[in-house]
Symmetry: C2
Subunit: 191 residues, 2 copies
DNA sequence: GACAACCTACCTACTAGTAGGTATGAGTAA
DNA sequence: TTACTCATACCTACTAGTAGGTAGGTTGTC
């Protein structure tokens, strides 16, 4: 097998495992689900990711890198803060369409059952997102484009909690309830 | 064995199963965890709850009854809306102290792996909570004790999503972040 | 004697994970 | 060119342990 085919399989495993994680939680999928979907054997997954922990850590790290790339790209754009906030909400909106939850929500709910390494990666990932969100909100307020009481940290917590919760609530209501929640957030912060 | 001992075991099973559900999710615990904690055998749990589905449904129904009793009791009290909102947040705060998530959040995250009956019970439970929250907010606004833009339904969605998300976020931050989120919600709605 | 509440003993299916073998291709060396 | 070596990426075949669940027996109480 060629080099690029090897990389491809590893990437496919990650893609499917990430989907399964956001669909059913860390304890809701097994190597069998992945191998079945890719038409390979369980042992092949163990070759790329010896332990399920390794797979879990890889998913979080990849998502973390993806977010940092996304954030860096958005920061360099000259857009009004409300449009940037829309972009942030759009990340979640994409999960809603597939009735998936966000990575943070999935991992936090399963947190107590996660191996230590995954717990640590989850903390790092969430802290990265929170740092970006807080400084984004702070900058927006400074520019007079956003408006909220309290500290940017408080508002970042509320915003993140709302989006994370709203995405889960969609599973017992409808995608429209996510839009309604976003609309309500924006009524508050978009001055 | 006496009647009340039977009832007691069944109640203990429910208590422990509910704790496990809020700790680790529906796929994160097994009959073994319950039987071990109660020093009984797996088969005894199957006597009271033939299928895990039956156990899951019973947990949700009990929580739903508990909430309706709670809501009925609060509605009959003559308290300012902001105090009543505090009481509602206090339900969640109790979970935070044990680093548990709320029932809705746990079930929604595992939703796609739940048996059909549990999915339906989850929808009913959440709809009960939402109905109460919406009419509570509406009444509070009418009395001039609460203040929010948009409809009471929109605000109910935002409030619920925030609390549900905040409780989960505690697992990667600290209990203080829950308090900060609640404070932020109240800055908006408590006129 | 009937029934409730438990038990032992078992089942099948699945879990993550391992040991060891094989096919393929790239790199080197005569 | 051929032949040897090596690593990659997969495989078969297996393990021990756990999952939810069942059949049928025992015990204590009305």
């Amino acid at each position: 097998m060629k080099m690029d085919e090897k990389i491809d399989t590893k990437k496919q495993i990650l893609d499917i495992a990430e989907d399964l994680l956001l669909d059913r939680g860390y304890n809701g999928f097994s190597y069998k689900d992945i191998s079945g979907a890719l038409n390979i054997k369980n042992a092949s997954i163990h070759y790329h990711f010896p332990k399920k922990t390794d797979l879990g850590v890889a998913i979080i790290q990849r998502a973390s890198n993806r977010f940092q790339k996304w954030a860096g790209s958005l920061d360099s754009k000259d857009l009004p803060s409300s449009k940037k906030l829309d972009e942030f909400c759009l990340i979640f909106k994409k999960f809603v369409e597939q009735k998936q939850v966000c990575l943070g929500g999935a991992l936090e709910t399963d947190f107590k059952t996660l191996p230590e390494e995954m717990q640590e990666e989850t903390r790092l990932f969430m802290s990265t997102v929170f740092q970006w969100l807080e400084s984004f909100l702070m900058a927006g307020k400074k520019k007079g484009e956003l408006n909220f009481p309290g500290t940017a940290k408080d508002q970042a917590l509320l915003t993140m909690a709302s989006l994370q919760g709203a995405i889960q609530i969609v599973r017992v209501t409808s995608p429209a309830s996510f839009d309604a929640t976003v609309k309500q957030i924006k009524r508050y912060v978009c001055a």
